[in-house]
Amino acid sequence: VTPSFVDKLRAALGPENVLTAPASLLVYSYDGALDKNLPGAVALPRSAEEAAACVRLAAAAGVPYTARGAGTNLCGGSVPAAGGLVIHLARLNRILEINTDNLRAWVEPGVVNLHLQNALAPLDLFYAPDPASQKASTLGGNVGTNAGGPRCLRHGVTTNHVLALEAVLPGGELLRCSVEDAGYDFTGLLVGSEGTLGVVTKIQVKLLPLPEDVQTLLAAFPSLEAAVQTVTDVISAGILPTALEVMDKTTVHSVEAFVGAGYPLDAEAVLLVETDGPRARAAAEAEKIADVCRANGASSVRRAASPEERQKLWEGRRGAYPAMARLAPNVLVEDGVVPRQLLPEAVRRIRAIAARERLRMGLIAHAGDGNLHPNLAFDERDAEETRRVKAAGYEMLKVCVDLGGSISGEHGIGVDKREAMRWLFTPATLRFFRRVKEVFDPANLCNPDKLIPLAETGAPTETAASSAPAAGPRSPEASSVPDLLRAAQKDRRPVFIRGLGTKNVPVPPGARVLETARLDKILDHDRPNFTVTVEAGVALEDLKAALAGAGQFVHVSGAGSLGGILSARSSRRPALRDQVIGLAAVLPDGDCVRLGAKVMKNVAGYDALKLFIGAWGTLGVLTEVTLRLFPFPPEEPRAEPAPRPFAPTALERRLKRALDPEGILNNVFFEDGHGRA
């Protein structure tokens, strides 16, 4: 940061809106986690235009910048890791529009999550994502981390509720995108990108009508295992509550001291369950849930009798992390996620680590999602203890990865967990993330050094550090795809993907046809976890037939293979992007990437799997798809509009060129005149 850069900022924003005094810089060096770094200046823009001006000035001066909301991030995501400029968006705090007819709202990124909820409640509406930090955290920050929260079990996380975005891209141009756009799902990509691809300046969110009735239960268990088993049993019984939260004894004790919610102090674990809906249904579900709790040995099951009592119970749950501050100056909150039924095993191993290292730990879990938060109390002034805590936290994440889970369910990667990305993703997948970042931010100024592990010193190092399972195709039929694409790149010969042939797109002349119909295996149906992984050539009808016997359902409609349905996004309601939790693809240059995991929540790395949904095979060949399953059949499918290929934008062309420089794969959709009809 040079004096002349600061002068220009001051001229653009007004001198009082640019901070450079040492004490001011100090308080922008941290967020809710441990990592710290001093910025060179802080800008407090008052409008989207001023925020855009900050980005343009920083880009012109080559100054790195980091957008910041409330700074409640738990992994250093909003810390200016490379110094430079902090763009603090707290003043962009207007709710621009609430549309009660189409149930959407436009908000600025600095709107506090709870302030939006407060504005919606009188209209009998709510916004579903409710991170525990909702009293303070901003919607911009929620978008950055793809925040979850207790009630996302039924309603989904931030990405399922953000319909459109406006963002200033690192080059200074404005991107307006919506989930309804044909083509690449940049909305889905930006959500969870931790502010590394642009600065979001406007957000359109989906609103939901407040339920008629809410039932909240608190059950006490003699063991954590019993509580977690209850969670699996509730979902297996065909009930998807809004929230299923587990807290251990240590947590209950620290919270109860402040909140006084009446949590049972003698139980080893408590389970907080909430369900809502029409009065009769909610009551019946609550009854059934109470039965399941008792069947698993609950010593007491208490039902909140009033809204105030319910509020108190939730206040206790939301306070689980800050209340740990009563025990020690610092709390490290880990954020692992595992297939739900493996939670007891994950908890067993995590507790063993804490015991071995003699750490004070409270455990809470969004158990319905398999998302667990070990809270480790320590004092950062004790360097030795800090090192031990950090190492133990990493080890706990490794446990989650070993169990087929992920290193972050909702907090993000930030600075803190970059290295752990190597356990989860292969070098090729990390390379893919870097290429995406480069397309958006070639100068690497936009919240640099986040999310992706640093120090790319050549492939061998990365391979050595990587412990991720190989991403290559698992079946012999699929294993020829990388070679075929590599050969095509070399010969510059077009390749055209063909599944079951239901999309009626003519094969371009001279193109080699890559048939996926033989990728027809169901690889893994994980019943207790409610997930299925199939090869991309599997016909939807075949998959439905295979699942029918288990009483589990995919909520996808239409004809053809799953790969084809995804690529053309021909099943629209409910949105495919909300059901695909993992996929494997071979990129146009033959690199094999594996994105997502068999878990309900996952914010590790870019949510790039969404790019492949509706991409018409232009970014890669899908080989495997993992879907979440439901314990109930879908509603009757509505008539869907015919899928339409897209007219690529400049940004889409840049991404395509970065991944497929020779333009060999399904390039017909990028050729002039195509899709413009």
Binding site: V1, V27, V255
Partner: protein, 437 residues
């Protein structure tokens, strides 16, 4: 950049402190784990969106100062001095970090290095000596009445001399030339049951409030009289001049101990909270602490007292029905809500008034931005905070807003004037006294 040469050290380390008070403040600050849950409640953060003006920012800067990580402790002056000391942050903090207390301590540290001499003089010389203070105040008020201040302000001269004075001149409408003590002329008898503590606000700025309190006291049938107290010491606590605060507290303790059985009624919640907080001033003086505790136990905030004595004050059917029905809302002084955890008594009193309709104020947990002298020391922030309060008051459509501290009353009156509103702001005591026969 020049400023970056003074870059603070971001690595935390144990502070090397000698005084016991510093050590306890430091330990309290350590429990801020930077979760940030307080930020969206803090009036100054809501008004500015500046992390440095949030409780978390202030705590971290305070900690950095004690750990010696700021090259010059005075760098934190802006962060510390802009705190309204309202206490809402502590009420939402799971670790209950006492930010307001830490900010007073922070100001004390800075005062040690660079005090404002004229203000120290007011605190240390004038406040303990009403006989010196009162003639000076009268002189100033006379000037105000003659329009000297307004004239200077219009000409822009006052702003040039001191923006603080200019803001103060603009804010205050009242300038009584006879103070409460001489209006009441009611020294306490030896067997008084209630001592009316003459807080500076009711005494010097709003004597009609104290007169209303006296009428309510008389209606209650209690034997009462005026205490010969001096300033409660709150300005000393606010500005970080703890020695001045302790000197005033000791003077008051000695005076009030002359009536050991009497309840001490304070009709300004800010001062009531300050008297109840006396024990905290004497962490290292156990004997004084004990005496302070005894006084705190018999000190009553106006609304607590009025609620307890309601039956006696309003002996049925004494209350006359007002000419027009009253819609009233209530603004909680922070020193009542957070300083004394008083929220129900004023509401119960208002709800019980005949032909009155009580309407709850949205964001009733928020400060009005008054904060004693804050309103003219930081007029910009104070007015931004006030604007939010006024919007909320107007949203209730109530014709009257009551409160229980003169600082809040002056601030809300000022805000309503600026908004050209006809809503009436009134002290709870004044409002209740209208219902006496």
């Amino acid at each position: 950049m020049d400023e970056l040469k003074n870059a603070p050290d971001i690595r935390t380390r144990p502070a090397d402190l000698s005084s016991a008070a510093d050590k306890s403040r430091y330990d309290e600050s350590l429990h801020c784990n930077r979760c940030g849950f307080c930020t969206s409640f803090c009036p100054t953060y809501l008004a500015t969106g500046d992390e440095g003006l949030s409780p978390r920012g202030r705590n971290q800067a305070f900690r950095a100062m004690l750990e010696g990580r700021l090259k010059d402790p005075a760098e934190a002056e802006r962060l510390f001095s802009t705190c309204l000391l309202c206490g809402i942050c502590t009420s939402v903090c799971f670790a209950e970090v006492p930010t307001a207390k830490l900010m007073s301590a922070g100001r004390e540290k800075i005062l040690e290095t660079r005090g404002e001499p004229w203000f120290l003089m007011v605190l240390r010389v004038l406040l303990p000596r009403p006989r010196l203070l009162e003639p000076l105040l009268k002189l100033a008020f006379l000037g105000k009445r003659l329009g000297v201040g307004r004239l200077l302000n219009r000409a822009g001269l006052l702003r040039r001399i001191s923006p603080k004075l200019a803001a103060a001149e603009e804010m205050s409408e009242t300038a009584p030339l006879r103070f409460l003590r001489s209006r009441l002329r009611r020294p306490a008898a030896e067997d008084a049951e209630v001592l009316q503590f003459l807080a500076c606000g009711p005494n010097y700025l709003k004597p009609e409030v104290g007169e209303a309190t006296a009428r309510l006291l008389a209606a209650s049938g209690a034997r009462f009289g005026c205490a010969q107290n001096v300033c409660c010491g709150l300005p000393g606590v606010s500005f970080g001049d703890m020695d001045a605060a302790r000197a005033l507290a000791k003077k008051n303790i000695i005076e009030l101990e002359k009536y050991p059985a009497a309840a001490v009624l304070v009709d300004d919640s800010s001062c009531a909270a300050a008297v109840k907080d006396y024990p905290g001033l004497f962490e290292t003086e156990p004997a004084w602490r004990e005496r302070a505790e005894a006084l705190a136990r018999r000190t009553r905030d106006f609304s607590e007292w009025a609620l307890a004595e309601r039956e006696k004050i309003f002996r049925a059917p004494s209350a006359p029905a007002p000419a027009a029905p009253l819609q009233v809302t209530y603004h909680d002084p922070c020193k009542a809500r957070y300083g004394q955890r008083i929220t129900d008594p004023p509401r119960l009193l208002l709800r019980a008034l005949p032909r009155a309709e009580y309407r709850e104020l949205p964001e009733a947990d928020q400060c009005c931005g008054g904060g004693g002298t804050y309103s003219f020391v930081h007029p910009d922030i104070s007015r931004a905070v006030l604007d939010r309060k006024i919007r909320n008051i107007l949203s209730t459509s109530a014709g009257t807003v009551a409160t229980c501290s003169v600082s809040c009353l002056l601030q809300v009156e000022f805000g309503l004037r600026r908004a050209s509103s006809t809503v009436e702001a009134v002290h709870l005591a004044s409002l209740l006294s209208r219902f006496l026969r």
